[in-house]
């Protein structure tokens, strides 16, 4: 039978329950912290590996472009910079759309990869699965082609029925390219 609902009982039961639960969670947090960090790192490493040519090591840095801060990984091979993997985030159709954009020092997009998105399943979410849409970013040269969707007079093939997502994706790539341009300028100063 349930215990009597007097103040002493209630305070004691609630207090004990909370204490016990926080102890369990604290322990679980300590135990899972390492694998969680490892999983996050593996994900980032995978994204960097996918968007850049082969490299030896990366360093994590950031740059300001027009008041916006971009974090990027500078990839170095044999003492030479082979590319930058820029984390570029814009507002898509359903929320933030985060990309990892690999750009080589000459300003050409090496490849792109989606870090996280909240686009509509079956429509905008295809930016992460549509082979044709994804393939066009490989080796995209912003000096030879225009970085905007065909509907806006550019050279980017949009995903069918997902122009807004495609535009956002394009904008994210453009921001990354601009950030790298700025980086290269800084380097030569």
């Amino acid at each position: 039978m349930a215990a009597v609902s007097n103040l002493k009982n209630m305070v004691m039961v609630l207090g004990l329950t909370c204490l016990l639960c926080s102890a369990v969670l604290g322990g679980a947090y300590a135990l899972t912290k390492e694998p969680i960090d490892a999983a996050a790192k593996a994900k980032t490493d995978k994204a960097i590996g996918a968007v850049l040519p082969a490299f030896d090591e990366t360093s994590y840095e950031s740059v300001d472009v027009d008041g916006k801060t971009y974090n990027y990984y500078k990839a170095v091979k044999g003492g030479e910079t082979v590319g930058y993997a820029v984390e570029s985030s814009v507002v898509g159709f359903g929320g933030p759309l985060s990309l990892m954009v690999g750009v080589t020092p000459d300003g050409i997009v090496h490849n792109t990869s989606v870090l996280s998105h909240a686009e509509t399943p079956g429509l905008g979410a295809k930016c992460n699965t549509d082979a044709k849409f994804m393939a066009q970013w490989e080796g995209f040269d912003p000096s030879a082609k225009i970085l905007s969707v065909k509907k806006d007079g550019g050279d980017v093939d949009a995903i069918t029925a997902s122009t807004i997502t495609s535009r956002a994706y394009t904008e994210a790539v453009k921001n990354a390219v601009d950030a790298v341009k700025k980086l290269e300028e800084n380097d030569h100063e």
Binding site: M10, L14, L25, G122
Partner: protein
Amino acid sequence: MSKNLKLITDGLVKNNPTFVLLLGMCPTLATTTSAINGLSMGLATLFVLVLSNMAISLIAPAVPDKVHIPVYIVVIATFVTLLQLLMQAYTPSMYETLGLFIPLIVVNCIVLGRAEAFANKHGVLESACDGLGVGLGFTCSLTVLGLVREILGSGSAFGFNFIGGNDGMLAFVMAPGAFLCLGYLMVLFNKFLKKD
């Protein structure tokens, strides 16, 4: 033992949380865009349900009536957070798909509903069986609903595409299709399976 077995099958059919009790509609509608997503959400809920049922049946006699809801919620929230940490650590890709909905298991009325209606009046083993039954019922319903929506909406089943291309009926992947599928499945379920 047969009594415990009956508790499990009751959860699957007679007390099926989705098609009969109509509980937990929010995760049901939101996460069943594909069979895999439905299955994972079902299993996540099953995990929380079994453990919280067992824990609550153990502590129920010591809990004063006036504070029983806060105590149950704290217990349920603990298991959900535990699940969240474990998923983040060991199944990061699944966590990415379901991440948003995992914390919502806390307020899933199935879990609190079973604690209130069953676990606080029964023993640990019975409560575990009830949790297992209702959890399995939820998992099956979500998987079937996810499968139907995935077949109609994306032309694939469990991620295996059989129409070649991405041209399913999009409406079924989005909210209206969720309501339509759920309604029709409910009709079929009640016509053919539910026997009193």
